[in-house]
Amino acid sequence: MSGAAEEADSPPTHMSEDSPGSSSSGGSGGGRRTPDLRGGDNGGGPRASSSSSSAPPDQVLDNVLESVLEFLTAARDRNAASLVCRSWYRAEAQTRRELFIGNCYAVDPRRAVARFRAVAAVVLKGKPRFADFSLLPDGWGANVKPWLEALGPAYPCLERICLKRMTVTDDDLGLVARSFPGFQELSLVCCDGFSTLGLAVIAEGCRHLRVLDLIEDYVDQEDEAVDWISKFPVSNTSLESLMFDCVGAPFNFEALEALVARSPSLRRLRVNHHVSVEQLRRLMARAPQLTHLGTGAFRPEAPQGEGMSVSELAPSFAASTSIVCLSGFQEVNPEYLPAIYPVCGNLTSLNVSFASLTAEDLTPVIRQCHKLQTFWVLDTVGDEGLRAVAETCSDLRELRVFPLDATEDSDGSVSDVGLQAISEGCRKLESILYFCQRMTNAAVVAMSNNCPDLVVFRLCIMGRHRPDRITGEPMDDGFGAIVKNCKKLTRLSVSGLLTDKAFAYIGQYGKLIKTLSLAFSGNSDLSLQFLFEGCTRLQKLEVRDSPFSDRGLLCGLDYFYNMRFLWMNSCRLTMRGCREVAQRMPNLVVEVMEEQNEDKVETETVDKLYLYRSLAGPRGDAPPLVKIL
């Protein structure tokens, strides 16, 4: 995994590339007009075209160089080192242990394995993020199979595979188990295509498995779920982490209990909602050494009054003195929450974002969580609940507030009041995701002043084009203050009523921004122009439902090679503009999905555009709906 992004005691950051520490540059300095494929996290950079003629070859012995390069872990730094000269390129290629491919279509797998000969871990990302919001058609692509077919023969000693937003079939999992005898870690985030059958194959085939983390995947429900838990080795296992809260099917609980009992290294366990508090107690008795626990349903098996009482559950938590991360609570009965009090004082991470808790439910819990650094919650706790968080959790680094009712017309239970409170109480905040219906510029400005360490600021005002609820003004000034005052900001999502002015600010001040998401914002193509010209580190731009036309798109021509991708849907693009981009930029793949109409006549309007730099050329696995220009 890109090491900086994954912290041991937070909920999985979903292989996120937003991390406070990684400010390693590698970005291009001057000469913005020359295509600079080095600038990103693309694992397959080109050879430097100009280096061989001028400087003499470096005198350092290759093996000494390799020893030094072993210490270089960040992909960006390695990319930079590989461009120094040929011998550095070779040395770096021999010593790269983790292969990070930010876009699985950016390079041909065979080319990647040809260059890097000693890889132990592979991280692959597939679909663009808007696939999570049902904006991509089924069968769009990002199949892992071609990659596995290349990785298998090339890296028989491969230990770790992490996939995000890729389609992984049961057969693919079988290929993993067969290809890599020493396989240790499998992490699937937001993937789809597999079922319990594939999990059984992994459990059975990978005898040295240490990590099986399934995070927010869409697991196919078979008619008869396979008892995959029983397929793990019958002797003591090496398991350190087992996370399967997204596997919807019921499973063999006795087998899990036995598995936990014979996995002495197990530190992280997240079960699905088929686990009651009674069963949880049994599991916790078997694994008192857990550091991360996903609690399943957190309600009793039997209706109220007949099951286990809270006081019978609390001792299990009292005995689990190592727990620092709690999640689950998927069908929580709030009466059982007090059972977790014994561990609250140690918690650095708490995820109750699948539990409809009120402020009353939450407050007694959160008041004990003095060390909390990561907190995910539903907006049902309201501004009052957030106030309690602000008053207690002065060490908070990451906050995510999700909406219970994710529709535009919902009432929304949190507002600028909650945001203001958080900003005043949690001064060390680095990352925030906040869904609400009502917001003010003042609260956003306050956060920009109170929380200067912000790296990720994602504010989603759910009603479209909503202005400041008090002044009626656009939200330009609020977001302007964020980009101006939060000097470490690398990721920004904007919402509410926004004019071109907001993007002028972002272009002017958002010099470190790598990822930017816009929706229903801006007045004109000027917005795009401001962004392309101003945000020199921009790598990922996602735009939807904004009044940008071909003219705005073409403003980006000089910058697309520095970016991983651009996504635009429901804007005002036409085929003509997209074709022009494709023609002028040979190393870009330009995919469009046209607006559907009943006649199936080819229209000029482009509904969805996804363009990305690539050394592989147009892919061959696109479905009929996708046209590659």
Partner: protein, 237 residues
């Protein structure tokens, strides 16, 4: 908390509290259950629980912790929702939907069980109904009715012989009630906590879930009940 909710209903006055201000505040999620159950009047302008919100979240919704927004009722016709907006992962959307449906089902099953001996798989919910001055009690199955109006009609039929004027009055929203005379009666209920509440304050489902028995009492005895009802349910689900 900003925007403290001044509850007009806590004012002490003669007669049953009413007043237009409450309508606006209570209107947030369609909690406009307080209808005029005077049977001689048609429903006339009083809104019942808006059944038009199919989201599972609506039934389990808690009152917003802050009521600072002066939002009136939502526009009648919601505009077309944009696909994938707000940007909540479909994984999360699915998980919440499944969960809330499951919990709602379980809660309904739970609530029916203490409600009476007749509770069974069909989910009936019989409660005793007493009326001051009547020689015997009756029983009604709350599950047979969907609204306060239906219930009042049924009670009316059951007890019509015992009231002087033939009227059974329930919570009257939006109107100042005239001074109660001895012939008017009011319906109250005992809830799970043992408190006697005025019928009609809370959404129908909440009432059914918490009602243990009904009592029809003289209007003069009913003064002072309503404020507790408002306070009690103000911060609950």
């Amino acid at each position: 908390m900003a925007g403290a909710d001044v509850d007009v209903g806590t004012e002490l006055r003669l007669g049953l509290p009413g007043g237009g201000a409450e309508a606006a505040k209570a209107g947030k999620r369609g909690y406009e259950d307080t209808i005029d159950l005077k049977l001689t009047l048609p429903t006339g302008g009083m809104q019942e629980d808006s059944a038009g919100k199919p989201e599972p979240a609506a039934d389990k919704a808690k009152r917003p912790a802050e009521a600072a927004a002066a939002d009136p009722e939502k526009p009648p016709a919601p505009k077309a929702q944009a696909v994938g907006w707000p940007p909540v992962r479909s994984y999360r959307r699915n998980a919440m939907t499944v969960q809330s449906v499951k919990i709602k089902k379980e809660e309904e099953t739970e609530k029916q069980q203490p409600a009476g001996a007749a509770a069974g798989a069909n989910g009936s919910n019989f409660v005793k109904v007493s009326m001051d001055g009547a020689p015997y009690l009756r029983k009604v199955d709350l599950k047979m009715y969907n609204t306060y109006k239906d219930l009042s009609i049924a009670l009316q039929k059951m007890f019509s012989t015992f009231t002087a004027t033939g009227k059974i009055r329930h919570r009257n929203e939006g109107k100042m009630v005239e001074a109660v005379n001895g012939s008017d009666v009011v319906t109250t209920y005992e809830d799970k906590d043992g408190d006697w509440m005025l019928v009609g304050d809370v959404p129908w489902e909440m009432f059914v879930a918490s009602c243990k028995r009904l009592r029809i009492m003289k209007g003069s005895e009913a003064i002072g009940l309503a404020p507790r009802a408002k306070d009690k349910y103000k911060n609950k689900s």
